[in-house]
């Protein structure tokens, strides 16, 4: 089981899988799927916008679980994983917001509106930005990790609010098209492949970022050891 895990999460294998899935996703988005009639070609942003949002939720769910485990066990492995996932999460949230505003400009004629979905997503961005700031500016590393874990747990409350905002409030943002049956089978297939490709990209980035943090901890302890012997 351990060797299988090592094999699956090997960076080169993950990179190859991600690359293949991304190529398939791009081919489906730009060659296979037909152009949507109402919005035209700009609707193709949807195939990357939705997977980016999915990865954000996944990344923050990982932060939530790892933060809980860190506070319970005080094992730095969970803290490293939460930190790495939060960093990736904020990058993907930034991309969701950027892709969303570009799409909004084409569809609604304005870059931004204080719509419930957009506003709650922006709040999500600020929450996890605060998570990273707390870590960066904490006087003690362990204290920063503790405070960040609390933000990682409390901040996750905003994730279901973002997801349900289109149902809870009247918004200009499109509804849950996948569940409402607003997508043709070719659109669904394209979206699923894009979601798979972005999930693989997230796992690849998480494995890499986490191994960097582990190496950083090793460097710190070795420095401490070397300095102690001088």
């Amino acid at each position: 089981m351990q060797s299988l895990k090592k094999y699956i999460f090997h960076p080169n294998i993950l990179l190859s899988l991600t690359f293949a899935a991304m190529m398939a996703a791009l081919a489906l988005v730009f060659v296979y799927v037909p152009t949507e009639k109402t919005m035209g070609v700009v609707q193709r942003i949807f195939y990357f916008h939705v997977p980016l949002a999915w990865v954000c939720f996944l990344a923050y769910a990982v932060v939530f679980v790892c933060s809980l485990l860190y506070l319970r066990q005080r094992d730095t492995r969970w803290d490293r994983l939460a930190h790495s996932s939060a960093e990736i999460g904020i990058i993907f949230t930034t991309l969701v917001l950027i892709a969303g505003t570009i799409w909004a400009k084409a569809a609604w004629g304005s870059w931004w509106t204080w719509d419930a979905r957009l506003t709650t997503t922006l709040i999500l961005w600020f929450i996890y930005f605060a998570y990273l700031l707390v870590r960066a500016y904490a006087t003690e590393e362990s204290r920063g990790a503790r405070y960040a874990a609390v933000i990682g747990i409390m901040g996750f409350i905003d994730v279901p609010i973002v997801a349900l905002s289109i149902i809870l409030w009247r918004t200009s943002h499109p509804g849950p098209l996948i569940f409402e049956g607003g997508l043709t089978s070719s659109m669904k297939l394209t979206l699923m492949v894009c979601i798979l490709a972005f999930t693989l990209l997230y796992v690849y980035l998480l494995v890499n970022s986490n191994s960097i943090r582990r190496a950083l901890d090793e460097v710190k302890s070795l420095k401490h050891f070397v300095d102690g012997r001088n």
Partner: protein, 47 residues
């Protein structure tokens, strides 16, 4: 191809940011690896 500029802009930004992040990660990794190698060597020298 109305609005294709927006489509191009969205996809360009997404890929640019993803590639930048991967580049930053690989630079961090290389720097840490060099530092680790140096520290291990220093420890070996001291026995």
């Amino acid at each position: 191809m109305e609005n294709s500029g927006y489509l191009l802009a969205a996809y360009s930004v997404i890929w640019a940011v993803v590639f930048c992040f991967v580049f930053v990660l690989s630079r961090r990794q290389r720097r840490l690896q060099r530092e680790l190698d140096y520290l291990r060597k220093k420890m070996e020298e001291k026995g």
